[in-house]
Symmetry: C2
Subunit: 407 residues, 2 copies
DNA sequence: CTAAATTTGTTAATAAACTTTACAAAGTTT
DNA sequence: AAACTTTGTAAAGTTTATTAACAAATTTAG
């Protein structure tokens, strides 16, 4: 260090602005405007951006040279020389989304407008659930989808993978995934990047579902909401001030371990199913149903093996015991929502997952929440259903790609 | 709308980058570097910023013309021409912080480095607690402080006011403040701005305390933490990903209404003290203490009127009943922290407020949390104590001012 | 004690990016 | 067919940055 007079300065820290930054910044602005307003003319871009015509012209030439913009030829005149219509070239590249489920692998391929162009899925065999095998399957699926979309693997710019477990998004490591045996500290991102040669993001699947619902689902445009996934497992995706919230140890939203009102207090242990999950997870709901059946001596093999959603369906038909199950589930869920709302004050709570998206549960929860004067967010069912994760994955891939299109 | 060929485009949306933006951006960068590294020379700024020497020279001249930077004269040579030392002119302006408490008004004045130069406080009389009277008191206090600091009211660039209630920070309206009679939908910001003629920010006092602890207290440098204020009231400041979280209706952190494990479920009503507050607020702790005293026939007038912190002090001395009070309070607090941690996964929880900052409570809570395998944030006592709000207010004022110094 | 080296800072020349002005191109309206 | 409107480009001028050259002031070395 050459510095001597002052105490101690570390070099360098600044981010100098140079004339070339203007070009970059304006190119980015124009590309964004083009993506939001395709097709449009240069004159439109002049009006939209506030830049001068020569600048727009030069930037568009630059974007065309990168193959990011295509010229569609003359448009309709509005009283003068007809405009040359421009369009963002959505097939300049593609992005992929992957959902690693407990029993199957699902994938989608989308263009740079986020339009899904093809999809692929496969059931796991037991052996295929190792991290290494999953990477191979993803590679296979990607190749199949590229073929189907008549494109090449090289044009896939980013791939986002949803894993059913606690995930360090920065490092791309799946820290733990209870439903996937031996998935602990799996460096999934680097494995995929090495296997496929494409930049990757790894996220928790429930977080992806939340992003999906925010992008083009029930939480569209909402800045503060909680996505609650009720299925075999119970978890939440926390979306605050327009962004996912992960927490200090990537475990935000692990509400399966939350306490249930009226049940004894417990300590939190990783390898034990949480109290909330045991109560309102799919298995918990079915257990409650069986208990009630037994108590009322109505148990038959057929009734006893009903799944949670089927029990809810019975409630819609007016079955007294099933209604009781819906009510107790709704009550526990409501307590959970109230506690979260007091802390976070979300605008909306989205109920998703195989069990959670059942409309009867939404209705029951809404009714109970209405008793409160506040801590009373809107409750909505997931509108993307099982596709939410995949849409969220596409969104994150698009976001990651955006910065790289003009880098 | 002149646009006809495409479906519909609204003008204008862009943010064009022009050469003058470079100057602005670089001036801002250099000012920031100067604030972080005062005193330093132009040559240092060249190295820190990565900009060329002529650019730095020209920008510094500009900053000097605005009186934002002062030249201290020659520094010590390090083997060549001695550098001209530059310093950010922290007395170019001042910022103020205000805390509206239940019984008193406290204010501080700080320079643009955030150094507190003077303070002022007054007890409220009953009549002085109306919004209008409070604005007058703030005006008086500000004038006193300016006199004390030998500066003028015109040099006060921003004032941040903490109010003990739910506050809409965008509009500057205090929506409700249970401890201040008739404070409902008070447009405090515009009232202060009109009275004093200075740009103002209004925030919830607990949120300000959280900001203060993050800036120069127990949460220094922590991106995700929860500040829990335990006093007569119970509330939390939620600090996530480096920013305060307010929620959709400005009521995030209202955990005084949270349910207490083992107590019957209740609906949430605004004008009724919350369950959590009734249990571990100062009054709740004192009631519990009196109950235990009565049960053990130890009640004396002297013991019965002890305040919560004094009861905790007795526990430190080994008093069995007092220890019991600490334990039950810690247990309820721990349950609350665990539930929040499952949702938010904070790195740290700061205990503050008159009751909460008692070290015995921190110790008890830490011990109980240690039983968990996760949902186990660090627990720390507030290090700024009753000053936390004021420091937070100064920080927010500085942040608001920063953008305006070069506008 | 003087000359060389070092560090700081300014001036002059050059480059990049934007804007304004002028104008060409290609329609519609009168 | 002439006038008007809209789109788009070319040329000239402005702003801001950089590099290169140099001046100023001190330390170091012979």
């Amino acid at each position: 260090m050459r510095f001597t007079t002052s105490t101690s300065i570390e070099y360098p820290t600044g981010t100098p602005s140079r004339p070339s930054h203007l070009r970059q910044s304006n190119a980015r602005t124009l590309l964004r405007l083009l993506r939001e307003n395709s097709p449009c003319s240069k004159a439109d871009l002049v009006r939209l951006s506030g830049l001068s015509a020569p600048t727009v012209s030069s930037a568009v030439t630059y974007l065309e040279s990168l193959n990011l913009v295509e010229n569609l030829g003359d448009g309709e005149s509005s009283g003068g020389r007809p405009p040359e219509m421009l369009r963002f070239n959505a097939t300049h590249g593609y992005v992929a989304g992957v959902d690693i489920g407990g029993t199957r692998l699902r994938m989608v391929l989308a263009d740079l407008n986020g339009r899904i162009v093809t999809q692929w899925a496969t059931q796991f065999t037991e052996k295929q659930r190792t991290p290494k095998a999953v990477c191979g399957l993803i590679h296979d699926g990607l190749k199949m989808m590229c073929q189907d979309a008549s494109t090449s693997l090289k044009k896939v710019l980013h791939i986002t993978v949803g894993a059913p477990g606690v995930t360090n998004v920065n490092s791309g490591v799946v820290l733990s995934a209870p439903n996937l045996r031996d998935w602990n500290d799996v460096p999934l991102r680097s494995m995929i990047e090495r296997e496929i040669g494409t930049e990757a993001t790894v996220e928790n699947d429930t977080n992806l579902a939340a992003v999906g619902e925010q992008w083009r689902g029930s939480a569209s445009g909402i800045e503060n909401f909680i996505f609650i996934a009720l299925g075999t497992g119970v978890g939440a995706g926390i979306f605050l001030r327009g962004h996912l919230h992960h927490g200090a140890n990537w475990s935000a939203g692990e509400i399966g371990y939350s306490a249930v009102h009226g049940q004894p207090r417990r300590t939190i242990e990783v390898h034990q199913t949480g109290q909330m999950e045991r109560s309102i997870g799919g298995l918990g709901i079915e257990a409650e149903w069986q208990k009630l059946l037994a108590r009322e001596r109505r148990s038959t093999p057929e009734l006893a093996k009903l799944r949670a959603t089927e029990i809810f369906d019975l409630a819609v038909d007016g079955d007294r015991l099933a209604i009781q199950v819906v009510n107790s589930t709704s009550q526990i869920l409501t307590d959970c929502i109230v506690e979260m709302s007091l802390v976070l004050d979300p605008e909306v709570v989205i109920l998703g997952g195989g069990v959670g998206s059942h409309p009867e549960l939404c209705r029951g929860t809404e009714k109970l929440l209405a008793h409160n004067e506040f801590a009373r967010p809107q409750v909505r069912s997931s509108s993307l259903g099982t596709q939410a994760q995949l849409h969220g994955a596409i969104f994150l891939s698009l976001t990651a790609t955006e910065a790289r299109l003009l880098a």
